[in-house]
Amino acid sequence: MNYIPQTKEEQKELLCSVGIEDVRELFDCIPKKARLKALPDLKPAMTEPELIEYFGKLASKNRPAGLCPSFLGAGVYDHYVPAVIDHVLSRQEFYTAYTPYQPEISQGTLTAIFEYQTMICRLTGLDVSNAGLYDSAMAAAETMLMAAGATKRNKIYVAKSVNPELSKVLETYAQFKEIKIEYLPYGKDGKVKIRDFSDGACVIVQSPNFFGVIEDIEKVSAKAHEGKALSAVCADPLSLALLKTPGEAGADIAFGETQSLGLKMSFGGPYCGYMAVREALMRKMPGRIVGQTVDTEGRRAFVLTLQAREQHIRREKATSNICSNQALCALANTVYLSLLGPEGLCDAASQSAQKAAYLCDKLCKTGKFEKVFTGHFFREFAVRCKGASPAKLNSAARKAGFVGGYELKKSFPELSDCLLLAVTEKRTRAEIDEFAERMARV
């Protein structure tokens, strides 16, 4: 099955009409030695019902969140996604559109991105948001490159308590740009230990950090600025419904994963990495930006702007090579935030925090678990398992029909007996109670 509308006869006729006898002559320019002698070895073509059956079988070999209440987070969270979102994303005018380079016929996408940028600024308390990046790890890498360019320094400080997915990507990018990464340890409260930053381009911390602990961004930012380094925070946007904004806390750059704002988990993507900065960094920020202007009739309209920063103009002098913005994911975020509004968003965030605190208390009361860190946490927390090992606990959880937590030893050998658990507003008290009981019985 393919999607070519014309028949072979029509094609022949079309070519004949412009003097081409045989379609094969169009490929004569390929050197003989380079021509494929046999078709590549692929599965035989499938019709639509066959595709449904094949993919259905593959999907059924997975164990998705809908079937088993999940307590796994570590950067990706099982929040409720309202039905409206997928209906908006399924509008063909949105998902089959190209990048909005022709503003006269792209006001839908452009307006939605402008709304997205506005919402990100209001969540983060910063001046300017771009239209989105691939994901939060990429946003971290872009932050690093932007900070190195802006400060002309080549060292960055990164809290050890950031998501390991993020620090690994930073390491990949840094090695080719001769940027040095120095990790900052965490203390007993789970918070980053700060130091003198006067040789740093920027300090990157995550809050709530990988252990769920809320960092003291004011302190980090003040120390960064003392050393003329930039302060960058990876902040979960849902947590910003309740927590002090990075802008208010003195950060220069905020970025993070927007998955928790209406995007399905989708086995790791697509998501969208947001990024917002203070005005002074606007022209150094990577990615697309939509701006407001007027048309020749004086009507308000939106357009991609500040494009002189971008790769298609600067080529090898560009500070970033990015040329897409996960637009459809950013649209999902915009619809999500519009649906929930300030009250709904605070409710989703607050219920997540309340339920996480409830599970944590419940587990600790059994005497088989204890909190690893003393700091305040949001939605996610680390417990030390005094009885069975984290791996045993997770396999018991699986048998009981749950998805357990993240085994911290995967990335933090010093926390080999610790489990990271996340609770979203979707979990009911009954689910949490049963999960806690099962865990205590292992």
Partner: protein, 128 residues
Amino acid sequence: MSKVIDGLYYSKEHEWVKVEGNEALIGITDYAQDALGDLVYADCGTVGAAVSAGDAVAVLESVKAASDVYSPVSGTVTRINEELSDAPEKINADAFGNFLFAVELSDKSELDTLMDASAYEDFCKEEH
């Protein structure tokens, strides 16, 4: 045809240099402003920066283009034209009347490597 003014030095990167005593004012030529189009942003560099001939000092942006502006001479940046940060369009209106930055010359002999007005005029014709 773009305007060219006598008495200035010109570089192949389309900068002009006006020497006043030991200081050189540097801007972009009329030809360059025309090629860039409506300017939307000008970053004229940093006072006190030490530059060698050929170093990028300033950045100009139009809607569809971005360009570094190089210093054709070596020395120290003594002044920048701060008016341009709010009104980059002044360069479009009068490229020769609006310098971007000034350099205290450390080696006057470098000026000999630059073009005069008529040589620059010929150079532009070739470029086109």
